[in-house]
């Protein structure tokens, strides 16, 4: 039992407590949840402080706080043994995301003050999802990862479906179907993978992801063996396996054209759940692509890098264009998420250390900023139950503090130097631009197209700012709205200020992140590229 198990199962313990507490203590549920999230944040920073930054590697030596317990060991008769372990560990890639998760969860817990009905159910589901999200970032066993990954779905379905907006049924179902569609096919690949990989020590088939990442552990002649070219339906099995898992995670990211669940889910979800969706769920997609897709199928990743980069560029531009056209503020921000997550894909595809570091940083930065953005939308929506951009004008004069935070969040998101998004996007674009000369995977115009995306994000953010906040104060709801639209409350300050500062700190001292994860990401990128190229030579039939 180390810190990782504690951070995962702490919410479960408090979940049980909430379930046991009678209904008359329901106001306590909020504090219990907030307390859980704060405790998790504390643990996350303890992990951050105790982390050895120079340790890196593709095998078990690259991971810290490793915990491995035998879980399911089955004798499968003719097949031999099957090994599933309770296997946790973190490296420079997962710790930043773990900290982000704890922070976003805290923000979401604060934002949950707006929830007024069925508190017991809400907070129980909230904590269950919290545990699952933490688990996803810590799991090193594919089975365990999948269990956590799927465990998120049901709570989210209910959280969107029960506490969401008018079209919540549709949005919740769509979200569930999309994700399950991706993950069921991923399950098929998982089955194929564990049949292909044997634990070098015990000789049993294993779900251990680290073993799957080491080409030496593949069984000769197995479906996904990199040593020989197995084909399924005439396509090399490894390319197919990569594509299937990539699609599963791409749905989560989301990558255009698999993004259509996102605007619905984000818009219909209550504010705290929008925050979690944008702040964490999308990152799980990105994390999965880098850790699992790229980690296990580096050859296919190199092979498809152009397409992945292209999908990134399309997401950036298409998301931005859509955001430009939206009249609903929440939808605008949802599409801006699609656009910003495109950078993550572009950075990964570049196979450069700068690009990948930038992409991971973009995940962290977008996690912080989207939390702010969705919360800010929630602020006015909770006051007047309207969030259409044309219905507001001159908010800056009416709610100056609110407007200040909106400006900070907007400018940070559009990549103003000094904020985290600038560093992240700059590094991603540098990596993309260098890719042409370093490894010739991505053409230079993709970097240029990416910068165009930044330009467009400036356009939609500034235009929204101009429409909603400047000019003479005029609201659709007239006098009653003016009364309801009071400026920020202390609890809203408590959420927005730390988030804004965090983005600023990361923007001014990016080394806080880069120094931390550099060793891991540098090894990861170099090793992936090297093994990828080697295996690709075999694959070039």
């Amino acid at each position: 039992m180390n810190w990782l198990s504690i951070i995962i199962f702490l919410p479960v313990a408090f979940l049980v407590l909430i379930l046991l507490l009678p209904e008359r203590f329901r106001e306590w549920y909020r504090y219990i949840t907030l307390g859980t999230a704060l405790l998790q944040t504390g643990i996350a920073f303890v992990i951050y402080a105790g982390f050895n930054r120079s340790q890196s590697g593709m095998g078990i030596d690259g991971y810290q706080l490793v915990e491995k317990l035998p879980w399911i060991h089955l004798e499968l008769g003719s097949l031999g043994r099957l090994e599933i372990d309770y296997f946790l560990g973190v490296d420079g890639l997962s710790v930043p995301l773990l900290i982000l998760s704890a922070l976003v969860m805290t923000a979401a817990a604060i934002s949950s003050w707006e929830i007024k009905k069925n508190l017991k159910g809400y907070f129980a589901l909230f904590l269950l999802m919290d545990a699952a999200i933490m688990g996803v970032f810590c799991a090193l066993d594919f089975f365990l990862f999948y269990v956590f990954y799927e465990l998120m779905l049901l709570p989210l379905y209910f959280l969107i479906g029960m506490w969401g907006g008018p079209r919540r049924e549709y949005a919740a179902l769509k979200f569930f179907l999309y994700t399950l569609f991706g993950s069921v096919f991923m399950l098929l690949v998982i089955v194929g993978l564990y049949f292909s990989v044997k634990d070098p020590v015990t000789g049993a088939y294993t779900f251990n992801m680290l073993h799957m990442m080491n080409p030496a552990n593949f069984v000769d002649g197995a479906v996904f063996s990199p040593a020989v070219v197995e084909t399924i339906f005439g396509v090399p099995a490894r390319l197919l396996g990569f594509a299937v898992i990539f699609v599963a995670f791409a749905i989560k990211v989301p990558v255009v054209p698999l993004h259509t669940w996102l605007p619905d889910a984000h818009v219909e979800a209550p504010t705290p759940i929008s925050i979690i969706l944008a702040g964490l769920l999308l990152k799980i997609g990105g994390y999965g692509i880098l850790r699992i897709c790229f980690g296990i199928f580096p050859d296919a990743a190199v092979h498809f890098s152009w397409f992945i980069g292209m999908l990134g560029v399309i997401s950036i531009l298409y998301g931005a264009l859509n955001a430009l056209a939206m009249k609903d503020l929440k939808k605008m921000i949802a599409y801006s998420s699609v656009s910003h997550m495109g950078f993550v894909l572009l950075g990964f595809a570049s196979f450069t250390v700068e690009g990948t570091s930038g992409a991971v940083m973009q995940m962290v930065s977008h996690g912080i900023l989207s939390t702010m953005l969705f919360f800010l939308v929630g602020v006015i929506y909770n006051r007047v139950h309207d969030r259409f951009i044309p219905n507001f004008r001159g908010l800056a004069g009416h709610m100056p503090h609110y407007a200040a935070f909106v400006m900070v969040a907007f400018f940070a998101s559009l990549g103003l130097p000094g904020f985290s998004a600038f560093i992240a996007e700059a590094f991603t674009l540098i990596g993309t631009f260098n890719s042409a000369s370093v490894n010739a995977l991505l053409p230079r115009w993709m970097a240029i197209a990416g910068s165009l995306g930044i330009l467009m994000s400036a356009a939609y953010f500034l235009w929204t700012l101009q429409r909603m906040f400047f000019g003479t104060t005029r609201f659709k709801g007239g006098e009653s709205w003016s009364k309801q639209l009071s400026d920020l409350r202390p609890i809203e300050w408590a959420l927005l200020l730390p988030m804004a500062l965090l983005s600023l700190v990361l923007g001014v001292f990016p080394s806080l992140f880069f120094n931390f994860s550099n060793a891991t990401i540098a090894t990861l990128v170099q090793e992936l590229y090297k093994t990828g190229m080697q295996q690709l030579n075999i694959l070039q039939y």
Partner: protein
């Protein structure tokens, strides 16, 4: 005549020696008689007498069955019965399932307030359990036929137990007709097999002789014989009876009908497949699997009546079971057994909930469940978890079951490269998503929709609630620790 005499003593010895292995079944027979007598003598004074005797008896017999592991692998009664490990495990599953069904039936309104009394009902359940046990163990085609007929005839009566209602009468009639035709076809197949091989024993002799016959003739004989098992398994093309019969049956009968005969059908099919080794079962079962699961799940999409929905979904589950059987390996057998355990627990649980809610709402339509989740939170949450298990979402047991089936199918692909295995896996994945779509109608109505005007007359359903919670807990527990079941296959 005189030369037969030494054989008689040998036969008698053999029969006497076999009795020890046959103890649970003998006791079941005795229990059946006891129940009839008890109902005749005490039925009027002690209404709960029959179910209590039945429950206690089945419990004891199941416990005795658990001690049969040392006899596993024995063939007895002159090769009529074969107590394989798989059959033994199935027998334990039948016992546990029957205990749940008996408990459920005690609180089933249509059984409890039946004007014919309910003593016969429990003796029938015991009789059908005997039939199921014989089905799982039978290793002689005659025994196969006898045991299937025993189960069928008992099932016909169970379905028609509430025949005062028009729907029940209709469904019972449909069931009888369809079952009779399938039995007849199977009998025809068995006669062909006997003609081809000269033996009714499902042993190695049968295998070698069958392999020597003309492939077309053997195939015809096997397919016609398959009709009998297919009927029990509700696999394509013998699935047409399912929805109508389910809709007309009362819920406790349904909890039985949708689970245990299916498991027994699997048991017979496994024995039969072992005996017909060499026939290309993989290809055919894969094709049937794909068609069965697709038909079941897609038809379930359009249903609002929960019984019909679960009827079609049970056809879908048969498709999944066939996936494991098609692989025809040790992994496949294990996966199928695990799937059966989880499926039996979850499906009985689901029908208990449907029955309980039907008692309250007088409706089995999913739209009548609106907002119920807030009135009956425990039951509703359990329902959702059971449905997740049926879909195959972790950590419920259905997920591990599906994973094992996929593993078996992939192993099958690895061993002979038959592309149908891959298609079957893809069909399984697609069907899982389809299943999500219709199963989610239930949580949608339970929790997402509001129904302010609903008044629930809370009645004591403590027994059923206890059953529901236990089953849900078991489903999750077995999902997290599948070894609790799987370890019996090792060694």
């Amino acid at each position: 005549m005189k030369e037969m005499l030494p054989h008689i003593s040998k036969n008698v010895e053999e029969v006497l020696g076999s009795l020890g292995f046959f103890l649970p079944e003998l006791l079941l027979g005795a229990l059946f008689l006891l129940l009839i007598l008890a109902d005749l003598l005490l039925g009027r004074r002690y209404k709960n007498g029959s179910p209590i005797i039945a429950f206690a008896g089945v419990l004891i017999i199941t416990l005795i069955t658990c001690f049969q592991f040392e006899d596993a692998g024995k063939v007895f009664f002159g090769g009529m019965l074969h107590l394989s490990v798989f059959a033994l495990l199935l027998k334990i599953l039948f016992g546990v399932g029957m205990l749940l069904v008996i408990t459920f039936a005690v609180r089933d309104f249509r059984i409890r307030h039946n004007e014919k009394g309910w003593g016969d009902f429990f003796s029938l359940l015991v009789a059908v359990l005997l039939g199921l046990n014989l089905m799982a163990m039978s290793s002689n085609l005659l025994m196969v036929f006898l045991s299937i007929e025993m189960v069928s005839i008992c099932s016909y009566i169970l379905v028609g137990y509430t025949t005062r209602e028009r729907l029940a009468a209709e469904s019972s009639m449909k069931y009888v007709l369809f079952g009779a035709v399938c039995s007849a076809v199977m009998l025809y197949g068995i006669s062909l097999l006997y003609g081809l091989t000269g033996t009714l024993q499902l042993n190695s002799e049968f295998t070698t002789r069958l392999a020597a016959t003309d492939a077309l003739a053997a195939g015809l004989a096997l397919f016609t014989t398959l009709a009998g098992f297919g009927f029990k398994l509700s696999m394509f093309p013998f699935h047409f009876w399912v929805a109508d019969v389910y809709e007309g049956s009362t819920n406790s009968v349904l909890a039985f009908l949708s689970t245990l005969p299916k498991a027994a059908g699997v048991g017979v099919l496994v024995q039969f497949m072992h005996a017909t080794y060499g026939f290309d079962w993989a290809t055919w079962l894969a094709v049937f699997s794909i068609i069965t699961m697709t038909i079941g799940n897609f038809q379930a999409l359009w249903q609002d009546n929960l019984k019909r929905m679960l009827a079609y979904s049970s056809i879908g589950h048969s498709g999944f079971l066939l996936m494991g059987l098609a692989a025809f390996s040790q992994t496949g057998e294990m996966a199928v057994y695990y799937y059966l355990v989880i499926y039996t627990l979850t499906n009985i649980g689901a029908f208990v909930i449907i029955g309980m809610l039907a008692n309250i709402l007088h409706s089995e339509n999913v739209n009548s469940y609106k907002g119920l989740g807030f009135k009956m939170p425990v039951v509703s949450v359990c329902f959702v978890i059971l449905l997740m298990s049926l879909i195959g979402i972790p950590p419920a047991g259905g997920f591990v079951a599906k994973l094992l089936l996929f593993s078996a199918a992939l192993e099958g692909y690895g061993s002979d490269g038959n592309i149908l295995f891959l298609l079957m896996m893809i069909a399984g994945a697609i069907n899982t998503v389809v299943a999500l779509f219709y199963y989610l109608k239930i949580p949608l109505n339970l929790f997402l929709r509001k129904n302010e005007g609903m008044v629930i007359v809370a009645r004591g359903h403590l027994l059923l609630k206890a059953v529901i919670v236990t089953l849900t807990a078991l489903t999750v527990l077995l999902g997290i620790f599948p070894e609790l079941v799987m370890r019996y296959f090792e060694g």
